[in-house]
């Protein structure tokens, strides 16, 4: 911060509010871009990774690689996909922190968990 303040002091007076504004929004945008998309593969009747930790705002996409349909259903019904045939995808964006346990409603022995924390 010291360095930035020093830098601003060297800039034209009129430009400084714009620069400060850019710096404030730049950091969260970069963090979101790095973790906003995660894929969970469904293959051999298994979610992988079955246990996933993400930050709020992340979109998780499940892709079914099996020759049989699967579905992704959160145990508290926070989200529920339609039946996903081979290569079908389902996405859900996690905005709130928490633990989300899910399973396949066709083959309930298939389970997974998403942990959302800041």
């Amino acid at each position: 911060m010291t360095f930035i303040s020093f830098g601003i002091s060297r800039m034209a007076w009129m430009a400084s509010p714009v620069l400060v504004g850019l710096l404030l929004v730049a950091a969260p945008q970069l963090a979101a871009a790095a973790t906003s998309e995660v894929t969970v593969k469904i293959a051999n009747f298994t979610f992988s990774p079955a246990d996933l930790t993400i930050t709020p705002g992340t979109t998780v996409t499940w892709v079914n690689n099996d020759d049989i349909p699967h579905a992704v259903v959160e145990t508290e019904k926070t989200f529920r996909s339609k039946a996903l045939d081979t290569d079908d995808k389902f996405s859900f964006t996690f905005t709130n922190p928490g633990e989300f346990s899910y399973f396949c409603s066709l083959h309930p022995h298939m389970t997974g968990k998403i942990t959302v924390k800041k």
Binding site: F45, T46, D66, P69, K82, S105, L106, H107, P108, H109
Partner: protein, 319 residues
């Protein structure tokens, strides 16, 4: 053992010949007639059964399962074609069955076109059909509404019901709804209560046939092949002298006897699945194209008054 051999079990104290049963298992893959004589299991090879050495049966019914119409993956690019072959075999049976039981997974994705195609073909058999749903039949937006609209008339809850035919009491159960994370097939408290009431007035001599999609006995829990509250349902049937349980879901013939309860699973008409634990997952098993029809098939069930055997013959589409 030669598949034409006939097993005449000597009865244990509990009336079950386990040696005979285990031998019977060894040729389950080629076709088996498996009988309950007065509640006691007998078994004989398919060729013997087809030679009509058994007394003439007053009526036969048929089990068909897991037609998965709409499935088109490498394990069977045309599930409708193999269902057509199964229906052709049914039409060619020397004795017309009284009715047919379909133990679920009629469709692959619960699409109207899949149900339509299945219905149109199955209708050609020209006999009444009694359905229970598989998990693949409840994938519409209404989570089973399509199934109930088509097949659920007169049923209770998610589609369970019972009926009587020539002294036998048939019970169709639904164990594919409201499945819980980490669990198996499930009947639920409402259905168990209905079952208890349904059989309450029946004499213990009434032969019972129970059918449901997922096996009511635990076949292989790691793959979800069982029903979490199946034992509770079977306990309600314990007092009956002869109970036959017909299931599908696992796409292979498997059978077991426990007390007076005989369990049987039918082949699929669409694609085979691996033996429990013999593959990384229970997904469709790809076999050489020329062998596929050995893994698919139907089952006929004979009921004979007098000798009272309830005989199940698994008939592969080929081989």
């Amino acid at each position: 053992m030669d598949k034409s051999d006939k097993i005449r079990p000597t009865k244990d104290e509990d009336g079950i010949d386990r040696r005979g049963f285990l031998e019977c298992m060894t040729w389950a893959g080629t076709g088996v007639l498996w009988a309950l004589a007065g509640g006691l299991p007998q078994a004989m090879g398919l060729s013997t059964a087809l030679a009509a050495e058994t007394p003439a049966a007053p009526f036969t019914f048929l089990q068909i399962s897991d037609s998965h119409v709409g499935f088109s993956k490498p394990a069977n690019p045309d599930a409708l074609a193999t269902l057509r072959e199964a229906i052709t075999r049914i039409k060619e049976l020397p004795k017309k069955p009284s009715f047919m039981i379909h133990t679920g997974d009629i469709s692959h994705l619960s699409k109207d076109i899949e149900f339509d195609n299945a219905d149109q073909l199955i209708k050609e058999a020209g006999i009444p059909v009694f359905y229970v749903p598989g998990e693949h039949d409840l994938l519409d937006d209404g989570q089973g509404k399509s199934y109930l609209d088509r097949y659920g008339k007169g049923s209770k809850g998610a589609g369970w019901y019972s009926f009587d035919q020539q002294g036998v009491h048939y019970i169709g159960l639904v164990n594919v709804v409201n499945l819980k994370a980490g669990g198996l097939g499930n009947l639920g408290a409402d259905q168990l209560q209905w079952l208890q009431d349904d059989v309450a007035g029946l004499s213990a001599e009434t032969p019972i046939v129970v059918f449901a999609h997922i096996p009511l006995w635990t076949v292989y829990p790691d793959w979800g092949w069982g029903t979490s509250d199946g034992a509770q349902a079977l306990a309600l049937l314990k007092r009956f002298g002869s109970v036959t349980v017909l299931n599908g879901h696992i796409h292979q013939v498997m059978q077991k006897v426990e007390g007076n309860i005989a369990f049987h699973t039918a082949r699929s008409t669409a694609f085979p699945q691996p033996e429990p634990g013999k593959a990384p997952s229970p997904g469709p098993m790809k076999v050489p194209a020329g062998d596929l029809r050995k893994y698919l098939g139907i089952a006929t069930v004979d009921f004979v008054r007098g000798g009272e055997p309830l005989a199940i013959i698994d008939k592969p589409l080929a081989g």
